[in-house]
Point group: C3
Chain length 147, copies 3
């Protein structure tokens, strides 16, 4: 599904405005640890309940750029449509995010699962909901770039 490739590329190439555009106005974006998710705990590492909040998050990245310069790569696989809920497709996928440093080393940053709701709009498919469930619990540099 092209939406996931667009999502990955927009983040990897720091086109944060385009990344934001992949969400509905009324949306929900959340990053959870897998422990909390399996226990049904509400605590989230990132929590946005509108596109405005999603935008704020990446505006900080563009303006301050406090994170160390490095390359990011999202690999998204196992995309699976599970059914429909209130006009949206429920879709899951697995992800792997890799960070490459200026020294040339590539390391695993995070792996986990997306649990999404996708709606078809006039501008194309958009995320109405995106829950990132991270298997990797030790996440350094404060989740600077969204997963």
């Amino acid at each position: 599904m092209g939406l996931f490739a667009d999502y990955a590329l927009a983040l990897d190439e720091r086109r944060f405005d385009e990344w934001t555009e992949l969400f509905c106005e009324q949306c929900h974006y959340e990053v959870q640890s897998r422990e909390n998710w399996e226990l049904g705990l509400p605590a989230a590492l990132i929590y946005c309940d509108s596109r405005g909040m999603v935008q704020d998050r990446v505006t900080v990245l563009k303006d301050t750029l406090t994170y160390p310069y490095l390359h990011i790569r999202h690999l998204i696989t196992n995309i699976r449509i599970h059914g429909e809920t209130a006009g949206a497709y429920r879709v899951s996928a697995s992800y792997l995010v890799l960070h490459s440093t200026e020294e040339g080393e590539t390391k695993i940053y995070s792996t986990g699962k997306y649990e999404d709701e996708i709606v078809l709009t006039e501008s194309g498919p958009r995320f109405r909901k995106k829950i990132v469930i991270a298997d990797t619990s030790a996440i350094d540099n404060l989740l600077a770039v969204p997963l």
Copy 2:
């Protein structure tokens, strides 16, 4: 192909009964090292020639849970249909299995290739044959969870 995503998710979320259901009654599931496979040697790390044997294998996992608690993630890509053999599709795919520890570290556990035969049944596509050919030869904790 949804079958591979279902296979990955069932293992990653420890829904072993659902995982077992993805195999035909009459099936063949085998894990080989790539060395042995390339040399045509018969020795397998795991060998099951019926769904009953596949079930036995994961029943042990559910009942004893001797493996250290951790998160597993399968990333399956490069899915390719190569043709048909006796009513089944011959399909290959590449996999990467990641383990994340409670300490928060994510490590590569195994990478390799699947060589499968898939049949379309009334309940959906099912594996009649699945050969896992593991590039990674140093596999610790005794292959507790299937690849």
Copy 3:
């Protein structure tokens, strides 16, 4: 898209002649570091502007085999068609290449992105252009096997 799976498998199984066949006669294959690519610098790690040059490159591999024996695995995801240029599809994809040593360890060798032009020929889809943009800048053993 089957072409990417064929590309990955041909390299991973050292079927270099079949890998070469996936390029057009008139083709362009290039490996760049992401730094250079983002800065628009022309310096390439590998540069071939015909299938003959691509062939020469892997002929060396077959004949001399100076690279240490190991297993290679390409995982290709995020395949995305971006449009058409002069009769070819512009397609991007993300890759992860893993190396497994005889000692049994699997390590990340390179991650990055493909920017390709694919044409449909009578023999199937073929790469008219393939630019490999590597996030991983420290690449050892001299890029023995193409990315």
